[in-house]
């Protein structure tokens, strides 16, 4: 919402400075977004007289002008086609900064002729795009006067943000009223004097709504004018409209725009000659009807929209935009004025459906002053008669003013209870009254019955009244009180389950993975790689683009896309992870907290130690196991299965499970997936369902289990078994561990060998078994005995044999 300082002062009698006004606006909830003092940038430019303009001796298109600036006569070389002897223009002296071009003017010589400054166009001053020639001013423009002052551009422009509840401040007067309440002057009276009509309106209103839906347009007021002259509007009105960004069109249109900007009251004027049948009917549109709007576009209407039309058809979209057919033009002499209330919700729906934004819609959908149809008509009448002349009819009214009067109880004590500051009773009442509220005493002391004014539809209860008092009294005046601590020492802010998230992030980062945060959506085409076509319920109805149209079923896709982008930047080797949500369905349970990571390319950059190798599934498995260990999962009980989802390499991937509960999957990504992301590979990844990792059982206290250290030397024994290729190493390890659960403390796999000497389809797996005695040193016989058990167990479990 923009307005100029002088416009504001039309409503506010104040001696406050611009700075004071600006500061106060922000502090009462009308946030100042900008203040533009256009005169500052235009200060150097003055009105000058072109004494003579002669052809440049050496350039066809240039003229050499003698310019009288009011203080001296200077020579200026000018290229504008309209530069001529005797004209008045705007002079920019040497040393001035030309805002439209950003150039600092220097004294120069153009084709041998000295030039001291320039005569400027509107574009060069940043006023418009006009650059066909230099600015021409009337002959009576005072020589030497600052151009900004002459053109009315020395009026600071204030731009404020209006929150959706403050429809009343979508007119300058509402802003002035708030400032007055805040003590920055007094609100000047508004001239709402009535004009009597001299004839009966030849056009009447009809409302034609289905029963029960009359609230779509509770009231409409109209008035007919004849013998008007629709020329240009007065300069002061044009200047104000231009200042706030509206293009002056004609007196009648400008008057409607001015009343809207000044008082927040949108109006519409029809060319009464063009209305057929002597009526304007307000009704719901019929499906299939179309409408040619003033903006030259055609819109398809439906039965939810309110329209106005005559015998010819629809020619106004209520509260949104007028029609082309009945619009006023320069030749208009008869006018029909419309001042109505429409259902804000219908106006909003209509505008949104048609994608039609207008200043009128903006105001209608936020709610107008419920009494405005009458006073709006009166003010518009005065302006039309003053500016366009002619005569007006009696008003024609259809419907009744809505019941807007309502009252709320305000307990003065409530201001301190909620606001933390005791505002004096008298001051509280003064604030409300200055804002237009009616305040009546009740039988209870300190309790009032407050009726909001008709322009404050946003006030719906006591809390709103408290806010009105507080914001005008000033939030700065609320004393700061520390939030009392409920306990003297801070308590944990996160639960043990929540604590896993930062733990997982920091563990993975400590292992060398870089944390990424990617979008929760992804392209549905890519999402299909991770579990098949995305169901409709997981696709956005209004995505920004097809790249962001599906909720991600896995984080892997976004990490692979990131790997591909980094590869394009020259970084093909990377390790990335993200801890975040993935989505299986739209219910809260369908959202899983995941820790997902990838490693791509080689494990390290090329380097002298020759340590680097391509990443493989065991890198991912290593990340996963470290993570599970850190999260307190019972890693010793985890089983590996080879049924990872189909976005992994079928032979180089697995799942980690606890019984039927799949905690995670890991492995090399499927070449088909890598191809879809244009990745050369190899890429390995893991996906851990954080919520499926069982929480350690709640226990009393923080004591760790008792640690019993054996004083006896552990013994290590190696075994190699020849088994079928299909036997999993884990089977051998488990069998060895199970052979003597007391003595066997550790089993490691230290060699895998396959060779012709073992036979087709066979491999040798070498394990190292650590035996940890607890009560005595092991004898050779003891070791022999347990070794025998280990061999027997492994052979039984795997069908293999000890390699001799």
């Amino acid at each position: 919402m923009k307005f100029t300082l002088s416009w504001l002062k039309e409503h506010l009698d104040t001696s406050a400075s611009l700075d004071e006004i600006v500061r106060m606006l922000s502090m009462i909830g009308l946030e100042v977004e900008g203040v533009e003092d256009r005169s500052a940038a235009l200060a150097p430019f003055t009105i000058a007289h072109v004494v003579s303009a002669e052809q440049h001796p050496d350039a066809d298109r240039l003229r050499v002008c003698k310019v009288d600036t009011g203080t001296e006569i200077v020579q200026v070389v000018c290229g504008a086609p309209n530069a001529r002897t005797g004209m008045k223009g705007v002079f920019a002296p040497v040393g001035s900064h030309v805002p439209g071009t950003g150039i600092d003017l220097k004294k120069g010589t153009i084709r041998g002729q000295e030039s001291n400054g320039m005569l400027v166009s509107e574009r060069e001053l940043g006023l418009s795009d006009e650059h066909d020639g230099i600015i021409e001013l009337p002959a009576d423009a005072p020589l030497g006067l600052a151009f900004a002052k002459y053109a009315g551009l020395d009026d600071p422009l204030i731009d404020i943000a209006i929150t959706p509840n403050r429809a009343d401040c979508l007119g300058v007067r509402g802003v002035a009223r708030d400032l007055a309440a805040a003590g920055l002057g007094t609100l000047r009276p508004l001239d709402t004097s009535k004009r009597n009509g001299s004839y009966e309106s030849p056009i009447v209103w009809r409302r034609d709504f289905p029963a029960g839906q009359e609230s779509a347009c509770p009231i409409v007021v109209g008035r007919h004018f004849r013998n008007v002259k629709n020329g240009p509007s007065p300069k002061w009105m044009q200047a104000r409209l231009k200042a706030v960004g509206l293009r002056p069109i004609s007196a009648l249109v400008d008057i409607t725009n001015y009343v809207m900007m000044d008082l927040g009251r949108p109006l519409h004027v029809y060319d009464a000659h063009k209305i057929e049948g002597g009526h304007m009917t307000i009704r719901l549109a019929r499906d299939g009807e179309t409408f040619h709007a003033l903006n030259g576009k055609e819109y398809d209407l439906d039965a939810e929209m309110i329209v106005l039309g005559d015998d010819h058809g629809v020619d106004d979209l209520a509260g949104v935009m007028g029609g082309e057919r009945t619009g006023v033009s320069e030749g208009t002499t008869e006018v029909f004025l419309e001042t109505a209330l429409f259902d804000p919700i219908r106006v909003a729906i209509t505008g949104r459906k048609l994608g039609l934004l207008s200043d009128a819609r903006y105001r209608f959908e936020r709610g107008l002053d419920q009494t405005s149809p009458y006073w709006g008509t009166d003010i518009a009448t005065r302006l039309i008669l003053e500016i366009c002349g002619g005569a007006c009819s009696d008003i024609v009214v259809e419907g009744t003013e809505p019941e807007w009067q309502r009252s709320y109880t305000l307990r003065i004590a409530r201001i301190a209870e909620l606001g933390g500051v005791a505002v004096k009773e008298g001051e509280s009442i003064r604030i409300l009254q200055t804002l237009g509220f009616e305040v009546a005493t009740t039988e209870t002391t300190g309790t009032y019955s407050v009726t909001p004014p008709p322009w404050r539809g946003d006030i719906i209860g006591e809390a709103d009244l408290v806010e009105e008092v507080l914001r005008i009294h000033g939030y700065d005046n609320i004393p700061v009180v520390p939030l009392p601590r409920e306990t003297s020492m801070p308590q944990p802010a996160i639960t043990p389950a929540q604590r896993r998230v930062p733990l997982a992030k920091r563990l993975l980062a400590a292992r060398g993975l870089v944390e990424a945060v990617t979008f929760s959506f992804m392209p549905s085409g890519q999402a299909a790689l991770f579990g098949g076509p995305v169901p409709a319920e997981m696709r956005l109805s209004n995505p920004i683009s097809s790249d962001l149209d599906a909720m991600r079923p896995s984080i892997l896709g976004n990490l692979l896309a990131a790997a591909q982008r980094n590869a394009n930047q020259g970084y093909p080797d990377l390790a990335l992870f993200e801890v975040g949500p993935q989505f299986a369905d739209p219910t809260p349970k369908g959202q899983s907290a995941m820790a997902t990571g990838i490693r791509a390319g080689r494990t390290a950059p090329r380097d002298w130690s020759k340590q680097q190798r391509p990443v493989d599934a065991f890198d991912a498995k290593g990340d996963l196991l470290a993570l599970l260990e850190a999260l307190g999962a019972p890693t010793a009980n985890l089983q590996v299965s080879t049924d990872a989802p189909d976005w992994y390499h079928p032979g180089r991937s697995g799942c980690l499970r606890l019984g039927p509960n799949v905690l995670a999957s890991f492995g090399e990504l499927h070449p088909r997936v890598l191809a879809a992301y244009d990745l050369k590979g190899p890429v390995v990844g893991f996906e851990l369902f954080l919520d499926r990792v069982p929480m350690a059982k709640a226990k009393k206290g923080s004591t760790k289990p008792f640690l019993k250290l054996s004083p006896f030397q552990p013994v290590e024994r190696d075994f190699a078994f020849v088994v079928e290729d299909s036997v999993a190493a884990e089977q051998i390890v488990r069998a060895a561990k199970g052979a003597d659960k007391v003595l066997v403390s550790e089993v490691g796999v230290f060699d895998i060998y396959a060779g012709a000497n073992l036979g087709e389809g066979k491999k040798s797996v070498a394990i190292s078994v650590t035996l940890q005695p607890t009560d005595r040193t092991l004898t050779e016989e003891d070791i022999e005995a347990v070794s025998g058990k280990i061999v027997a167990q492994v052979e039984k479990a795997t069908g293999g044999s000890l390699r001799r």
Binding site: G419, R511, Q569, G580
Partner: protein, 358 residues
Amino acid sequence: MQDLNQLRDELLAEVQGAGDLEALDRTRVAALGKKGRITELMKQLGALDGEARKEAGQALNRVKDAVAEALDQRKAGLADVALNTRLAAERIDVSLPPRPEGRGVIHPISQVLDELVAIFGEMGFSVAEGPDIEDDFHNFGALNIPPEHPARQEHDTFYLPDRADGAKMVLRTHTSPVQIRTMQKTTPPIRIIAPGRTYRSDHDATHSPMFHQVEGLVIDEKTHMGHLKGCLIEFCRAFFGVDDLPVRFRPSYFPFTEPSAEVDIGCTRKGGELTIGAGDDWLEILGSGMVHPRVLENCGIDSTKYQGFAFGMGIERIAMLKYGIPDLRTFYDSDLRWLKHYGFVPLDVPTLTGGLAR
């Protein structure tokens, strides 16, 4: 005696003359070995008697000790030389880089999240969570934003297909629905923050379709706007690490709070560079207000008994301000160079006692 002195000198000279450990060992054997010269003399002592044997024995032992000591010294000397020679040959180029290790980092959003938890945790808040895919009621209706409310249009909501029961499904446009979910299942007093992902259908230089917010909610029987100011001033000063940071509260509007306030912090913008702290300008960083009585009632909380405040802010925004990150969009690009530049050392967990700024 003469002979012994001579023997001693001869043997000591041999020890000194031994050029390496092997030669030294030969010298030892020749002197002290089973058939060594001193050993041989020891054997002859038995032929002497009484006093003479004692004297000769002592003299011979002195020679033996002197030789043995010389042998030890020489051995140590030779071992040193041998070690030094070997070490000299084992020289490596220590200017080579160490073996490469991956350097992982924590994303600024996670780091700031931990900072928020540290600060608000100290003030007695605990962390609450809710789903990213919300229904219309939790995201809008319960928060006093009816369907055609202009405030709703400002949310640029992403929609999913309607649920079977007709409920509109949305990606939550703010973290405020977590307020609702918390109040629905908790009896006051309530003191929570709810950080999380939020979504708006807007994508340009200063807007991302996904971003993060943190929501705060305090509900009890006596918390008023003075507490709101106290809590948020403490937060701003702790988070930005500026003890005298000016904090300004301006009236504003949110459908779910009444009265509402926007919060600005002091800054300067000299020479195009933004500095947070006491200055001549203000920077808006968060929205807040007293929870609207209707919102309390929507959650089954008696608004005549309970009251309190709520606030919400953008995590990326405060991260950008604190750590001087210029562009919002880069947070989600996963560009390694960016992540390593703006990321944090994983073991550097922010705490109030250990410091919040990095």
